[in-house]
């Protein structure tokens, strides 16, 4: 375990001053900034009477976030993680160090999960800031003093856990091809396919649709346990297969 943490800490150091960290913070903050500017220009947010301000805002933001922005952000983050070691050929240096190859791959997968989680936390913090500032600047919006934190957290956390499957797959793509364009185009294509498939029956079988399906179930007050278990099982399967594949892959660059 100590060995793995040493490898993971090396991955963390590689992220210092990198585009990965900037993107992970700037994209969620940017989305909330645009929403905030939009809200300031409106007279009403169109929230139904009796509905908590925070729940309504969280539902609105989560639709944009889970369906489109989060999968695209994951795509970008994993592509950047892969590129860190392929752009300058440092992957061969990593692979000639006395560490198990699967650990180096697993550390990258953990970094991808951490980066996505940091983005989620950033989004939630910005969401709180969004609400508090609107409460001060636009008293007519009647921002509720009660914040259903557990409900808000689960609203974003459940689709995040379901998205681990996508993170795992995209990390494998970026490390296997070591090409930023291949990684990005794969993620963008699957995200768009998931959007087109959303109302279709077969979306239940397309992993990129799972986070959206999970979100809709949460909005409808339905359980998402089966989706969570299925995603986690698939994520574990992909992670294992990816580790095995990449551990035996020739390092010819």
């Amino acid at each position: 375990m100590k060995e793995f943490f040493a490898v993971f800490s090396a991955e963390l150091l590689k992220a210092k001053r990198s585009l990965l960290l900037k993107v992970s913070l700037a994209i969620p903050a940017g989305i909330m900034l645009f929403e905030w500017i939009g809200a300031l220009q409106r007279n009403t947010l169109g929230i139904q009477p009796g509905v908590n301000f925070w729940s309504a805002i969280a539902e609105h933001i989560s639709r944009i976030w889970i369906f489109l922005l989060f999968p695209l952000l994951i795509t970008l983050q994993t592509a950047l993680i892969g590129e860190t070691d392929y752009r300058e050929g440092t992957w061969k240096v990593v692979c000639s160090q006395p560490v198990k190859r699967w650990m180096a791959v697993a550390a990258k997968q953990c970094l991808a999960v951490l980066a996505a989680f940091i983005s989620l936390i950033c989004l939630l913090l910005c969401l709180l800031l969004f609400g508090f500032s609107l409460g001060i600047l636009k008293p007519e919006f009647q921002v509720s003093a009660y914040i259903p934190l557990a409900e808000l957290g689960w609203f974003f956390l459940a689709p995040f856990v379901i998205s681990l499957l996508i993170i795992s797959f995209q990390t494998w793509v970026s490390l296997n091809w070591g090409n930023f364009i291949v990684s990005c185009s794969t993620g963008i294509t699957f995200t768009l396919v998931a959007l087109f498939l959303f109302d279709h029956e077969c979306s239940r079988f397309f992993p990129w649709s799972f986070p959206g399906l999970g979100l809709y179930r949460l909005i409808d007050g339905k359980p998402v346990d089966d989706l969570l278990y299925l995603s986690l099982a698939l994520c574990a399967g992909i992670t294992l297969a990816a580790n095995l594949w990449l551990s035996n892959k020739q390092v010819d660059r």
């Binding site: 490898v7 090396a10 050929g89 440092t90 240096v93 000639s96």
Partner: protein
């Protein structure tokens, strides 16, 4: 004991055989110069030694242990610089070394030690993207030196260095080998660089190891020649060829004749003078490593 030993090492890329049954034997504490023209198979061999690519056949034995079964244990004792130095440009020199320190679980003081060894201590807090080519090369070497591994595998370590830098690295490699018993496997196409520091030499061409041994063994491969400056080179050629000698006219007044020891020179000059040919100048031509290298690689190329 050989620190590096390969047995019938083979690597095919589709129909192309990049490395063909190479049997390397690198003695402990030696500086082994691994020479070959571009595309000869040097880097492919190095990648197989480091386990970066899987051989199509044969065995790699490092420190007397089979690579496949002892990868981690072996890599703890190997430092490498493969092709151009691969660095993280958005990090400082120190941070690049810190990454390797974490991978190798070394003490922090190790970073200071290697930075001083390669004379980069002053610039260690600068971002690598602002480094010159020579500084990057030195940092790459520092990465290979982390933990003072008993085996260094260096692929073109003096690339991009100025003459003073080359001299420093050459001195460092010699010192590491002589004072600390480090075995250095040095791949290069710079013959004079290898000639000055290598105790053993391996020459690879078209994937085949065409020579392996000491520099003296290598020099024996091509005999010495005597160079005569004389008034009638064509006449001299006729006289000596009549005796079964190989004579090469190299200029308007110069001929080159392979000899078998210095005594042979006296008999050749006597023969020429007896035939009325005046010798104005005579010298022994010692073949340089470059001559031998070109001769061997051309001969191997022609044989193919």
């Amino acid at each position: 004991m050989n620190v590096i030993q390969t047995e019938a090492l083979l690597k095919n890329f589709g129909n192309l055989t990049a490395v063909d049954c190479v049997d390397l034997a690198v003695p402990a504490a030696s500086v082994y110069g691994f020479l070959g023209p571009n595309g000869a198979g040097k880097t492919t061999t190095i990648r197989m030694l480091l386990g970066l690519i899987q051989p199509s056949g044969g065995r790699v034995i490092l420190f007397g242990k089979e690579y496949d079964d002892n990868r981690i244990e072996i890599l703890k004792r190997v430092g490498a610089l493969v092709e151009q130095p691969s660095l993280y440009p958005h990090l400082t020199g120190w941070e690049n070394l810190e990454i390797i320190r974490r991978y190798r679980s070394l003490e922090r003081v190790e970073i200071t030690r290697v930075l001083e060894l390669v004379d980069l201590a002053k610039d260690s807090r600068r971002l690598v993207r602002h480094y010159s080519t020579g500084m990057r090369q030195r940092l790459g070497l520092a990465i290979a030196l982390m933990g003072m591994p008993p085996l260094l595998i260096l692929d073109e370590p003096t690339n991009g260095l100025d003459p003073a830098g080359i001299h420093e690295i050459r001195a460092l490699i010699t010192r590491l080998s002589q004072s600390f018993g480090v075995t250095v496997f040095l791949s290069s196409h710079l013959l004079n660089e290898v000639e000055q520091i290598a105790t053993c030499i391996g020459i690879i061409n078209n994937g085949n190891l065409i020579f392996q041994g000491t520099q003296d063994d290598l020099r024996l491969k091509i005999p010495q020649c005597v160079h005569f400056e004389l008034d009638y080179p064509e006449a001299a050629k006729k006289v000596l060829e009549a005796e079964g000698r190989t004579v090469k006219v190299v200029s308007a007044s110069g001929v080159l004749v392979p000899i078998d020891g210095r005594a042979d020179t006296a008999s050749l000059s006597r023969r020429l003078i007896n035939n009325g040919i005046s010798i104005t100048e005579m010298r022994i031509d010692q073949p340089t490593l470059e001559d031998i290298f070109l001769d061997l690689t051309e001969a191997a190329g022609a044989a193919k």
